[in-house]
């Protein structure tokens, strides 16, 4: 399996999904070799403490005793989930700068040429990664190559070709979800190539499947839908002292949790918040997460005159996520284009009713959630007010939703993947 991030260092749904799926497969006795990228600052980090938010320890050194059948392999690479060519570029430049500082000299032009362990642009890096993956795979035994999202597709194609094993690509998101209509041609081409060369394509929802068929021209009988699941997590230990948060105990809390980026519709959340505050005043809106639109969102809240009612927590991890759910009265996901959306399932798991965008994959599986068109700010506000105002509504949504979520387990997703593996192997 070619994938991303492992706990505790998870940046978003992609890492969560890989973890959930792998764990479920492990429980069914499937032997998984999990390959992920790992940045090496190594020789550049001598006497400078690099406090990069992306630094990570070797996953193999993490105690994942629970995963008995999973082995990890890493490939040194600055590739990371959700990167864009621009963010990759910036990352490389930062690394070069660190290298310069570590070496303590103004680097002559000659030192600026590409160091051997990463590509100078994302395209090169993705293919360099693929080459390294082939090397790594030469020493492994496996039946299937399963690649998650576009950055691993070239590696998947290469490994499959060299080993003669079939390739399965797992589409967690497409360029159209991430970038709207302004897709990056290079990324689109890589995505399409991956889908075409794969024996089977797995989509996380029918919503995504139809994008694959219509925008990428892939034949329908090659694309299967396997819904994501949710991990039943424990209760949050303790809470934040509420006095510190600036929220009064009689105030309702409406939560937005996710990357603050165009795809997630943060501005619709704020416009709806303003409408809600026209008719209700004892409510606070919390945006938990970080992203490229974070600053813009803070500004927008101020512009709309609701700055004092909107709180930003920054990125939340682990037990903090639990805590914020235990405080929330309602979770809102106004995504513009969401291939699946695991966060609402986590919210329901934590007894928080949800409002979700109809333009999402998860709206296909949830019955007991309020659904809206992401642009319909009036209706989002209408539904927020209704949930906060009518306890029977909130109660019924919460109870039925929590019950419904128990049926969406990674176990079922894993089983379905295994069935797809078996069908593919028979055909081979």
């Amino acid at each position: 399996m070619l994938g991303w991030e492992f706990p505790p260092f998870i940046n978003g749904g992609l890492g969560t999904a890989c973890y959930g799926l792998t764990k479920a497969m492990d429980e069914q006795g499937i032997h998984v070799t999990f390959v992920l990228p790992k940045v090496v600052y190594g020789q550049y980090a001598t006497h400078v403490n690099l406090l990069s938010p992306h630094s990570r320890t070797t996953p193999t050194s993490l105690k994942i005793a629970e995963l008995k059948n999973v082995e990890f392999r890493t490939i040194d690479s600055p590739l990371e989930a959700y990167a864009t060519p621009e963010s990759y570029q910036k990352r490389i430049e930062d690394t070069i700068r660190q290298k310069q500082i570590a070496q303590g000299s103004l680097s002559p032009a000659s030192q600026l040429f590409t160091a051997p362990d990463y590509g100078n642009n994302m395209y090169n890096e993705v293919h360099r990664y693929a080459a390294l993956a082939v090397d790594l795979a030469a020493n492994e035994q496996f039946d299937i190559v399963h690649a998650h999202d576009w950055m691993t597709y070239p590696a998947g194609i290469a490994v499959a070709a060299v080993s003669g094993r079939p390739l399965i690509v797992h589409v967690h998101s497409t360029e159209f979800d991430r970038s709207g209509e302004h897709v990056n041609q290079m990324i689109y081409d890589i995505e399409r190539q991956g889908m075409q060369r794969a024996a089977k394509v797995i989509a996380v929802s029918h919503f995504t499947r139809s994008i694959i068929i219509s925008r990428y021209g892939i034949s329908g009988d090659k694309v299967e839908v396997v819904y994501n699941g949710v991990e039943r997590s424990g209760n949050g230990n303790g809470e934040w002292p509420i006095a510190d948060t600036g929220i009064r105990s009689d105030e309702k809390i409406v939560l937005f949790l996710g990357r603050i980026t165009m795809q997630k519709g943060p501005e619709y959340f704020l416009y709806a918040a303003k409408k809600v505050l026209e008719v209700m005043s004892n409510v606070k809106f919390v945006m938990a997460g970080s992203g490229d639109l974070m600053h813009r969102s803070v500004e927008l809240a101020a512009e709309l005159g609701i700055g004092h009612k909107v709180l930003f927590t920054g990125f939340l991890r682990g037990p903090d996520v639990q805590k914020i759910y235990s405080m929330a009265d309602l979770y809102v996901m106004p995504s513009v284009s969401e291939p699946f959306g695991i966060a609402p399932l986590e919210a329901l798991d934590n007894d928080v009713p949800v409002i979700i965008s109809k333009q999402s994959g998860v709206s296909e599986v949830l019955m007991h959630a309020l659904k809206v068109d992401f642009w319909d700010v009036n209706e989002i506000a209408n539904k927020i007010v209704a949930v906060l105002k009518y306890p029977p509504l909130e109660m019924t949504l919460r109870n039925h939703g929590n019950f419904e979520v128990r049926k969406l387990r990674w176990k079922d997703s894993a089983q379905k993947c295994v069935r797809i593996y078996e069908e593919t192997l028979v055909a081979v």
């Binding site: 409408k275 026209e278 008719v279 019955m367 007991h368 309020l370 659904k371 009036n378 209706e379 506000a381 209408n382 539904k383 007010v385 209704a386 105002k389 009518y390 306890p391 029977p392 509504l393 109660m395 019924t396 949504l397 039925h400």
Partner: protein, 415 residues
């Protein structure tokens, strides 16, 4: 010799428009949607079915008879949107072979929440049936055939009804057959007609189901089943939604053809005949007492109230609605009262049901909302607005009219 007793329920609610917390006018109802639904059902069901029944009545020269129960809210809509349907019902009334039953004008669950309102609605309904069709109903059916011992006593105490119609549910009959007349517990001047749900549902639900062992159901086969009851029952009560003919069962299932041939096949056997509920009540004695301490209905497999009151949203919504009764009535504002009453239609609560919120279910076909939650939110927003109209100083009523604000002032000036 079983008498076949047909009764058809005819009703459409007055549906709400999309009403958010930001709306604050008193236009609650979706006139456009209500008009289109009304016309659509008129064309697919009411008109062809009425014409067919009328034709059969004339052909069989008084031996074929049926009964209808039409709600007041539907009659209002038919008048506005499909008046030709009203004239076909008129023709049916004049044939002398059609009985009209009594029910609540607004198809409401008021029996459960306000006895006064319940009786007012029954009276209002009888009055409109009399006005339109020249009949004063003597047989009563409650909304969705909701019934218990108390209802029987209440209806009996009104003094103008001979019989009550309800569901022949297994748990009240035990091993007894619905093909006889029964007496309610502790009141003896009304009789009970119990629906034979097996035979009724064969027509209403199973008719077009190809995996049903008895498909296809022909008039001949069904008449055979009726005749077999000979000696084992007095009456076969076939009670169903009128929309069975054309809506629940589309024309291409052959439902109209089935009905067209049914009277002939049934009457072939000389011991069979057709009776209206009123005639049934007069013709046969009761054979036993039926005790119904807890409420029953004709809905879903449970035959109880869970379709309308099974979850917290439904019970709170209906509770809030009836809590407004006194305030609404004391406004003396006709429109406020009428709006409040239109909100009482049991359908509004049916839409909030989460019981069978799954694919392909009969609840969903007729549900104008995407989800039960949407219907609850809509209803409560409307109710909120209605409540605020009750607490405003009244400018409806006898003395003040909104149209002449200066009338009183000019009188004062002149004096």
């Amino acid at each position: 010799m079983p008498s076949v007793c047909f009764y058809f329920q005819v009703h459409q609610p007055i549906r709400l428009r999309h009403y958010t917390v930001f709306d604050n006018n008193d236009q609650y109802f979706d006139d456009f949607k209500n008009a289109s639904v009304c016309r659509k059902v008129a064309n697919k069901c009411y008109l062809p079915a009425n014409r067919l029944i009328l034709d059969l009545i004339r052909r069989f020269d008084g031996r074929f008879k049926v009964a209808y129960s039409i709600t007041g809210v539907l009659l209002e809509q038919l008048q506005r949107y499909s008046p030709e349907v009203v004239s076909t019902f008129d023709a049916l009334a004049q044939s002398g072979c059609v009985e009209f039953l009594a029910e609540t004008y607004y198809h409401s669950l008021s029996f459960l929440y306000s006895r006064d309102e319940f009786i007012e609605q029954i009276n209002k309904h009888s009055e409109i049936i009399n006005r339109f069709f020249g009949q004063t109903p003597r047989v009563f059916r409650n909304t969705e055939l909701i019934y218990n011992n108390e209802l029987a006593c209440l209806i009996s105490s009104m003094g103008r009804f001979d019989a009550i119609i309800t569901e022949g549910a297994d748990h009240i009959l035990g091993t007894r057959s619905p093909n006889f007349l029964y007496q309610p517990k502790s009141c003896d001047n009304v009789k009970l007609l119990l629906k034979n749900y097996a035979l009724s549902d064969d027509i209403a639900f199973r008719f077009s189901n190809r995996s049903w062992p008895e498909w296809p159901l022909t008039a001949e086969k069904f008449a055979g089943w009726i005749s077999r009851i000979n000696g084992n029952g007095n009456v076969v009560n076939l009670f169903m939604d009128y929309e069975t003919f054309g809506e629940h069962q589309w024309e291409d299932t052959g439902i109209f053809n089935f009905v067209r041939h049914l009277p002939e096949k049934i009457l072939q056997h000389p011991d069979n005949n057709f009776k209206t509920p009123g005639e049934v009540a007069q013709s046969f004695p009761t054979v036993d007492i039926v005790d119904v301490p807890h409420i029953i209905s004709w809905a879903d497999t449970e035959r109880d109230l869970s379709a309308w009151l099974g979850n917290a949203m439904q019970s709170s919504a209906i509770h809030e609605l009836y809590r407004l009764e006194r305030n609404v009535k004391s406004t003396n504002d006709e429109k406020v009262i009428s709006d409040w009453r239109k909100l009482q239609a049991s359908d509004h609560f049916y839409y909030m049901c989460t019981k069978y919120f799954a694919d392909g279910d009969v609840h969903k076909y007729f549900n104008p909302y995407d989800s039960p939650y949407d219907s609850y939110i809509n209803f409560m927003n409307v109710l909120d607005n209605l409540q605020s109209r009750c607490s405003r100083p009244t400018n409806g009523g006898v003395l003040c009219s909104g149209r002449e604000p200066n009338a009183a002032a000019s009188v004062l000036d002149a004096g």
